[in-house]
């Protein structure tokens, strides 16, 4: 506003500019709602863009410091509610709305977008348990991707070192909140994979509202977790819903303490484990050697038992050999043959004696035969008398005897039949007559009564 007393002299540009600036100063802590276009990142980490509502436009500006603090970074085409002040930049002659807070105009819409992202990742199998990589049993080092300030980093380090006092920890400081957080987290994940200093990553932040956890629901962070060379464990606080980062991570924990326990075993447990193995090993080899010793002792005892018998056997064999030797010596052979001869002589004598005895016995038997012959002879004489008597009786009764007394026997010449009656023949038939001495042939002349 021009003051009348100064109207005689023109304002310098600077004076006017400062004047304008001063006049605009009351426009502070304002809330402006509008759609973002022409989002540009400046070299110093600031952002500039236009905010409009379809009719009007005002240039928005976000300093680098504020950009790190805001929960979300404005995006082209999205409507946000900005808090800030109007400033007139004297060197450019431009009015800008300098922003210190950015809020989503429509959280519901953002959630819908998030659900869409989850559906997309799910369809690609990003949440599948088979896809998740196993965490190392004992990591060589642990990478912590988190805000370098605050309780989270402290709790994680404390838990890890309490469990495993000589564990190596690499801290990758990132912005876990604010517009630059998604890129910051994504860069750190890629860097871990490049450097491979650690073989497990803990991605942590100390919880927060939906807006505060915005970075962990972005596709860029989800993809970086999925593509990470090193297994990722999330620990994003227990105050919120699961984020997409939780869902694609290889393991999901709520608190830094839980994550610390998950990635690092208790060294004392492992030491106890090895002590146990060592004990078992010592016990086994002790047992094994004792068994071997026992078997050796057993064999030694058996040898001790068997030794006398073995010696006896050999002594016996020697004795046998000695006697064989004695038997086979020429003197012994001569003696044995002499003995054999003597034996034969004795047997010959005995045989001769036996033979003589048998002969004299036979002679005695012959004398007994005489008596038998005499007995037999008298019986033969008696039998001969009987026979003569029977013969005489036989002669007396025989036809010859009758014929001798003058009788004859007449036979039919043809049939040979003895004729006992005249009727047994007929005149003219040939007959034969048997006399005591000789025979007659005749013919019947007649037959009388």
């Amino acid at each position: 506003m021009l003051r009348p007393e100064e109207a005689q002299r023109p304002y310098t540009v600077t004076e006017l500019a400062n004047e304008i600036r001063r006049e605009l100063r009351p426009l502070t802590a304002l809330l402006v709602k509008g759609e973002v276009t022409g989002m540009k990142r400046g070299t110093k980490g600031h952002y500039s863009f236009a905010i409009r509502d379809g009719q009007s436009l005002i240039n928005g500006f976000l300093y680098a410091d504020d950009a790190r603090r805001v929960t979300t970074l404005p995006e082209d085409g999205q409507v946000f509610i900005f808090r800030g002040r109007v400033d007139y930049w004297t060197q450019y002659g431009a009015i800008r709305f300098v922003i210190d807070q950015v809020e989503f105009d429509d959280v519901g819409k953002l959630r819908a977008q998030l659900e869409e992202l989850k559906r997309k990742l799910e369809a690609q199998g990003a949440f599948a348990t088979e896809r998740k990589r196993p965490l190392p049993y004992l990591p060589k080092a642990v990478a912590l991707i988190t805000s370098p300030t605050g309780a989270v980093i402290h709790d994680l380090q404390e838990t890890i070192l309490e469990r495993f006092p000589n564990m190596t920890i690499y801290v990758y400081p990132v912005q876990v909140q604010g517009a630059a957080a998604p890129m910051s987290v994504s860069r750190a994940l890629r860097r871990c994979g490049r450097e491979l200093l650690a073989d497990v990553i803990v991605l942590a932040r100390g919880g927060g509202s939906f807006e505060e956890l915005y970075a962990f629901n972005t596709e860029i962070v989800a993809r970086s977790v999925l593509e990470s060379q090193v297994p990722v464990v999330t620990a994003l606080g227990h105050t919120s819903d699961r984020t997409v980062a939780d869902m694609v991570a290889d393991a999901e924990c709520r608190t830094p303490t839980e994550a610390g326990s998950r990635v690092v075993p208790k060294k004392s447990d492992l030491t106890a484990q090895l002590r146990d193995r060592n004990r078992r090993l010592t016990r086994e080899i002790g047992r094994r050697i004792a068994r071997e010793q026992e078997q050796l002792d057993h064999r030694r005892r058996r040898v001790a038992q068997l030794l006398p018998a073995l010696v006896r056997q050999r002594v016996e064999r020697l004795t046998r050999a000695a006697s064989d030797l004695a038997r086979l010596s020429p003197t012994a052979q001569v003696a044995r043959r002499e003995e054999a001869l003597r034996d034969r002589g004795r047997r010959l004598d005995a045989a001769v004696a036996a033979r003589l005895a048998r002969s004299s016995h036979a002679l005695a038997s012959l004398r007994a035969g005489d008596r038998l012959a005499r007995a037999l002879s008298s019986r033969l004489t008696t039998a001969a008398h009987g026979l003569e008597h029977r013969r005489q009786r036989l002669v007396a009764l025989s036809p010859e005897a009758v014929l001798a007394r003058g009788y004859s026997i007449t036979h039919d010449a043809e049939t040979g039949a003895v004729l006992r009656a005249a009727t047994q023949t007929a005149a003219g038939r040939r007959i034969r007559v048997r006399l005591a001495e000789g025979r007659l042939g005749a013919q019947v002349d007649s037959v009388g009564r």
Binding site: K44, P148, V171, A180, S184, R191, L270, T271, I285, R288
Partner: protein
């Protein structure tokens, strides 16, 4: 060969040898060999426990705009 083994792999191999020993089917020579091998794995495990150096290193990178 054992240099590439992780703690877990070495422990697994150690347990394999222990099981062979505890099953008791090994000859004396084999048993002694198994014990030697098991001791090697035990040593590897012990070394792995002590391998890490207690260290906290901040891998900072200059944030753009700072």
């Amino acid at each position: 060969m054992t240099e590439q083994l992780t703690y877990e792999q070495a422990l697994e191999k150690l347990d394999e040898q222990l099981k062979l020993l505890e099953d008791g089917n090994l000859g004396l020579e084999e048993a002694l060999k198994a014990v030697d091998e098991a001791r090697v794995y035990l040593q590897v495990c012990t070394e792995r426990l002590e391998a890490a150096r207690r260290k906290i290193e901040v891998r900072g990178e200059p944030e753009p705009g700072q």
